[in-house]
Symmetry: C2
Subunit: 195 residues, 2 copies
């Protein structure tokens, strides 16, 4: 005695993520969103509650995307350091052609939002921390395989990588010459604080 047929929630979130990722939180209107995910207001508000609700779901989906990609690269490669390097090359270099924005959606959100949106800001910060923790885990693994010195602090190295990625991605948006960036990525693990 009810109607079950529904839109594909995963597909809706994916489309919403791509739009928010490209335009950012404030520049994306609910009408932009309605077009992008092909849903009428009633359905959106029944499912997500508000514009913020859709954005929150998008942030979480985006973070999940990144973590999954990192896992995939880890499985494909026999070396944790190679997986990390591959991930960084992908987000800094490849994302310029493929992704909705060459910016990291989480960093972009942290940069854009203020304390007027404390919950969304918190979601973005926590997601960045999750990625950092995943980095640290791969670094621990690399230490076990003697790819990285065992005296190094994994969390410190992971934080260092986060900072490099954020800096590199913003810089990539200001420049059309990837050469210097690729070189920086290639050399990332060959010097301090890794060596």
């Amino acid at each position: 005695m009810s109607k079950k047929a529904k839109f594909d929630r995963q597909q809706v979130i994916e489309n919403a993520t791509n739009l928010y990722w490209e335009k950012g939180y404030h520049a994306t209107s609910m009408r932009n969103l309605q077009d992008a995910i092909d849903l009428r207001p009633g359905s959106i508000y029944a499912e997500f509650g508000s514009k913020d609700g859709v954005f929150k779901a998008s942030l979480e989906h985006y973070a999940e995307l990144g973590l999954t990609e990192l896992e995939n690269l880890r499985v494909q490669s026999s070396s944790p350091v190679e997986a990390l390097k591959g991930f960084i090359k992908q987000v800094v270099i490849d994302s310029q052609n493929e992704a909705p924005s060459c910016m990291c959606m989480l960093a972009k959100t942290v940069a854009e939002l203020t304390d007027d949106q404390p919950e969304l800001l918190s979601v973005a910060k926590n997601a960045l921390k999750s990625v950092e923790n995943q980095f640290a885990q791969l670094i621990v693994e690399a230490q076990k395989k003697e790819e990285i010195g065992k005296s190094k602090d994994p969390q410190e190295l992971a934080r260092f990588l986060q900072i490099q990625i954020t800096g590199l991605r913003v810089y990539a948006k200001t420049s059309d010459d990837n050469g210097p960036l690729e070189k920086m990525i290639d050399e990332l693990f060959d010097h301090h604080p890794f060596q």
Copy 2:
């Protein structure tokens, strides 16, 4: 036979900059702006033409602020490297308490805007490049004083610093522990690519 008395243009731009710097381009409305700079629409549009016009003036003022601050630090210090380090500490650490936002307004703008605002995006990119060039100039000076090896490419080192600053400032917004960041800044010039 005319009326000359006018608002203080410099003060108006300064107030506009502080608001835009804090809230970003899209989250700042013309009415927010009217309140912050205490001008009615007619005066604003007569002077700046549009919301974009005010933002452009703010970006240019912000860039000028940074370049001036860098020059001041250079004069105060006998060492170009110390001036650079002081500048970085100021924007990454001190800005958290003092500035409208701990983010760099230029990086924040590059991160937020898309090709829908090509001119504003271009102004922000060019301003970042100006700062980078100023870094390079200080590095050349440091090489003459043997503070940095003469074999190093000043533009490459300047680019490296820009990337570090951007990464560090975004990270600072996600974390409340400045300790690791201060340590990173202190060690910045002691390793590759500087040494």
